[in-house]
Symmetry: C2
Subunit: 305 residues, 2 copies
């Protein structure tokens, strides 16, 4: 499977079909939740340096990638947790992205970036496309600064077969503060969805989808159905499944009749599966990768509609 | 001047009074605009590695810091341009932040971060406060995800004498797409301003200002006046001065009667002063630092109301 000549939307469709999976594995390394098998040296030696933790994050994420490669279409590193280690974490992030791509996984860099004009260009240039410094396939972006702040990202989608996911309706309880505000008949999230649709629909790949996707939380299933209809050619990245409360029934409306059009992110319930009460008896500390494997198989099964 | 025991708002007030300057120097390194004195080896040796460019960015920014230290209250590194170099740029960013602090400049990290819950905590932990991995004094954040996404940043303001600047009314032409939308009598930017005011007003320092500030563009002077009144205890970071078109008259309304309450960012017209037509005859290539000095003196003069 060579993805280099394919648009991001087509690559994602191919990957979903090849793996029969709509699961996106969120790579959210957190010091306190890493398996003891990885952190025992760091814990016994005290707090550990940033370099040592960064090496642990790289090991943790690459081992997860080894488990999930071939089983899922994509992974989503959460940049915040890498940046929390300082520059050493940024080096680890670059290594993790490269490793995931080497295993034919599509990489959605979850950084929720945005800025104006030439600064937005710099973010797009940094993260999007195989030849970029970080080498992600796709980037999450925030729409608060308006259409002109999204255009540089869309331009780079065209130039590099990359993709973006624009925050439309986020999964958190307080997301409605701005997103649900209504002007006339239209909420803010509906306006953003219209913008996403407009930016996307002149750029469709063979699969019928384009590079400008949307983030819509599993915690708002009614809005997910509404937004699926409002953005019929946009891939939807659905966070909020699992630990945040969303289940399989909540995400169904995100898919088209062919089972395409959405990927569902799960971080904690997969990557920290060794901590799940029902898995604790099944897997020993040294078998945390087996717990990850069981968790991803379970989620894939739940989402085969 | 020891800032460690002082709140961010008080430190900024002290720094503005000590320097008699409300200028914030934007550190936006761009390959194509660096002075030839810094890039000549990179250009003659071809494209230059990311490490070589990162070293050039560090040299460029630290030399600017040497020029402006004591002349201005704060600097604002734009994270996008550092991230554009990949991990090497992140190392440079860390060095630049540390160097600026060592010269008693307050550092506003312009990263426009946001996310939900524990991910927002990770960003706050990464960037805010002297003891954080990056060591900034303050961070720009986006409000699209709502109040619960801002709370972790506010908490870290309290814990570490740090500050945030929430995007309220940005300087770009398209910012109004969401920000100017009206529900009843209130625009989105007015709602965000109310939230900023509420989060801030229980946290005031001796100077009468608190840690939760706002970003309001110089390109919207009427809204700046309105927002000054709507957030009477918030520091306002005003971008859009200079290259984006804002002038001294446009930013006047951002200040209180004592000349406090706002800092005005200028990037290109100061850091790339060597490219300004009126400076080209006055300063040789090897004197780019003198051009920076002249530009910052000029801006300080313009903003002494």
């Amino acid at each position: 499977m060579s993805l280099a000549d394919s648009t991001f939307a087509d690559s994602l469709a191919q990957a979903v079909q090849a793996t029969r999976s709509v699961t996106c594995v969120g790579l959210d390394p957190r010091k306190a939740s890493l398996p003891p098998a990885i952190t025992k040296d760091l814990v016994t030696s005290g707090a550990g340096s940033a370099d040592a933790w960064a090496a642990a994050y790289t090991q943790f994420c690459t081992e997860i990638i080894d488990v999930v490669a071939g089983k899922v279409a994509c992974v989503k590193p959460q940049v915040a947790f890498f940046e929390q280690l300082g520059p050493a974490g940024c080096i680890a992030l670059g290594e993790v992205i490269r490793y995931a791509r080497s295993k034919e996984l599509l990489v959605i860099v979850d950084a929720k970036r945005n800025d104006i004009g030439s600064t937005a260009e710099a973010y797009a240039d940094a993260y999007m496309g195989a030849a970029s410094p970080w080498g992600g396939d796709s980037l999450t972006v925030s729409p608060y600064l308006g259409e002109d702040s999204l255009e540089p990202f869309v331009k780079v989608c065209d130039e590099r077969n990359a993709g973006i996911f624009v925050l439309v309706k986020t999964s958190n309880p307080g997301g409605g503060f701005l997103q649900d505000r209504k002007t006339g008949d239209e909420t803010v999230y509906q306006s953003v969805a219209s913008l996403v649709r407009r930016l996307n629909e002149t750029r469709l790949g063979k699969c019928g989808y384009g590079p400008v996707g949307a983030v819509v939380g599993a915690t708002y299933p009614d809005q997910l159905a509404e937004l699926r209809a409002a953005m019929p050619t946009s891939w939807i990245l659905i966070p909020g499944f699992g630990a945040q409360g969303g289940g399989a029934d909540d995400v169904k409306a995100g898919f088209d009749d062919s089972g395409l059009g959405a990927v569902v992110n799960n971080s904690r319930n997969i990557i920290f599966a060794h901590q799940r009460p029902e898995f604790k008896d099944r897997f020993q500390d040294g078998q945390w990768q087996d717990a990850v494997c069981a968790a991803v198989d379970e989620m894939n099964q739940q989402l085969r509609f």
